[in-house]
Assembly symmetry: C2
Homo-oligomer: 338 residues x 2
DNA sequence: CTGAAAGCGCTTACAG
DNA sequence: CTGAAAGCGCTTACAG
């Protein structure tokens, strides 16, 4: 079952492979009868072009790489889906690279992406390593960094203003009269997580309050971390009256253990999440959260990447694009009981 | 910034490209000093092999395609993540093809996968079309079909015994004393959805009950469908006392509108879901559901696929592997109030 | 133990 | 308007 090649088609149609190639790609005029003959030959032989060969010759693979830290995190799953969609509309396939928050895996994937000659990559970094991004850009691959900044001016960057978002989230809690506020954070060292906490601290400072260090619990953006974080918090001698959980999955986990321990949300404890995943409005209580503009982020990241891929070259100005999150008030936050 | 090629390395090390190739792949013995020279040259030049060229020559791309009907469905997102993982461990990248339940998109993706010469594909079909699977296998690509059967004996198939699972789910509801049971289903025509309903009908029939046709509401496995389905159900003159929702996302949606309409789950209404997504135990009430063996399904599907890829050839016996779901009782179901 | 050379299936200057 | 031929960067028989 040998695959039929362009040569077979050419022979069948009585033309050269050059002509076949040109009718496929529309790259030069071909007389109508000839064109028809070629098309007929392709159909008869069930010809499917081999894009590996094309890529080797043309230097483009019509494939982009997408590096995400954790594909089971709904936020990343969602962004992946949207990027896949936009890529598809523009004729690009995406290779899904889930680094699993593992720098070694990320590094191997970077090698794979370079070896596979992807036309570009959207890079959401697992850790603080700058090396992977450096290797990628050094190989000449266009990159746009998303969600988590990598402090190198080697690529376009699309980020959320996490500090401002943290400020707004905390402001909401403060407006409700809460003063003893806790945070369940993302993995240590991850920019967005730290910045959200910073924003929270600023909001508190403005009202003469301080974020108690002992109420900053390290998490990792998984449900389990939310479960455990809330467990720890409620075991404290003087638990908080509100908690800012840095993503929705952990928030749902946190609310679940609160309930298990007989602590009612929002009556006894307010919880605000982050991301506004699809399930946020459907859980009980419906989650108050900071909505990320996922679609916008996906569009901008993919759009910039495709532009960069197509921009013949080379004095491309890397830009930093900052998006805003929006407070969505639902049921999981309420005024502090006086 | 021209990429350095094997020729550059060969020149630098004073050997032939054949030798460079053999030290990279370990395909024949090379004297130690020569080997070291080659390795040094590669390092000095920052050489990264071009796997496009390798693929063209060797006929393998070390890439598999994964076709899923809806990447925003948590069940598929989860299975995708696990397949990516197993692929990675075995040296394969995965191209994520989200058909979005759109047969035209699925068809285009099949063409892309053939053109890109993927070594194999795991195929979860969007609709009832057999044509895509036929084209894929006709091109000589190893395929394993998962989750949704495609009635052709062209590929290994890994399925859940959905009929049995539906039977068990309904049995649980019946054991609790429910007799008026509703279903919120998946998209019309999707095998697993229909089979779960059939199982439910069998369980009811065994107890002399009948599944009221008007209580079978068509859904599509999205939260919104769950929201709407429950809305319709509760507006009925005589609503059911229990509902079998064919996936967890819809079940969460359904519970959400029940609550909004003042109907308490499980006191007034029992709800059982399907899948056992990660969030199922964390929502309120914690979801009773049928747990799918996702990891097992991913392992078997990927394992069979890799075997098939490596099996030199050609009298491969396609197998059908049937897995079982397991009832997980949590809080969303309870005995019917007498 | 190693090298020279063919060839994978395309695209694209170069001729005519 | 079309074809002959080079070449993309590898791997792998074939010689020696």
């Amino acid at each position: 079952m040998k695959r039929t090649t362009m040569k077979d088609v050419a022979r069948r149609a009585g033309v050269s492979t050059a002509t076949v190639s040109h009718v496929i790609n529309g790259t030069r005029h071909v007389e109508e009868p000839t064109r028809q003959a070629v098309i007929a030959a392709m159909r008869e032989l069930g010809y499917q072009p081999n894009s590996i060969a094309r890529s080797l010759r043309s230097g483009e693979t019509k494939t982009i790489g997408l590096m995400v830290p954790d594909a089971s995190n709904l936020f990343f799953a969602d962004i992946a889906r949207r990027i896949e969609n936009i890529g598809y509309e523009n004729g690009y396939s995406v290779i899904l690279c889930n680094s699993d928050n593992d720098l070694a895996k990320q590094q191997e994937y970077v090698n794979t992406l370079i070896a596979k000659q992807v036309d570009g990559v959207i890079f959401i970094s697992a850790g603080e390593s700058r090396e992977d991004l450096e290797r990628l850009t050094a190989s000449g691959t266009p990159v746009v960094v998303a969600d988590r900044d990598v402090p190198l001016h080697l690529a376009d960057v699309v980020l959320l203003d996490n500090e401002a978002a943290g400020y707004v989230a905390a402001g909401h809690l403060l407006d409700l009269g809460h003063e003893r506020i806790a945070c369940i954070t993302g993995p240590p060292g991850v920019g967005p997580s730290m910045q959200r906490v910073t924003g929270c601290q600023r909001a508190m400072a403005e009202r003469g309050l301080r974020l108690d260090e002992s109420l900053i619990l390290p998490g990792d953006f998984t449900i389990q971390a939310g479960l455990r974080g809330m467990e720890t918090l409620l075991d404290r001698p003087s638990p908080p009256t509100a908690v800012f959980v840095l993503n929705d999955m952990m928030a749902i986990g946190a609310i679940s253990t609160a309930r298990r321990k007989g602590c009612r949300v929002p009556d006894d404890l307010s919880v605000i999440g982050f991301d506004d995943i699809e399930l946020a409005p459907a859980v009980n209580p419906a989650l108050t959260t900071m909505a990320q503009p996922v679609q916008e982020m996906a569009e901008i990241a993919t759009g910039r990447l495709l532009e960069k891929i197509h921009s013949s070259d080379s004095n491309w100005e890397n830009e930093q694009i900052i998006l805003s999150a929006e407070l969505v008030v639902r049921e999981s936050t309420a005024a502090r009981k006086s």
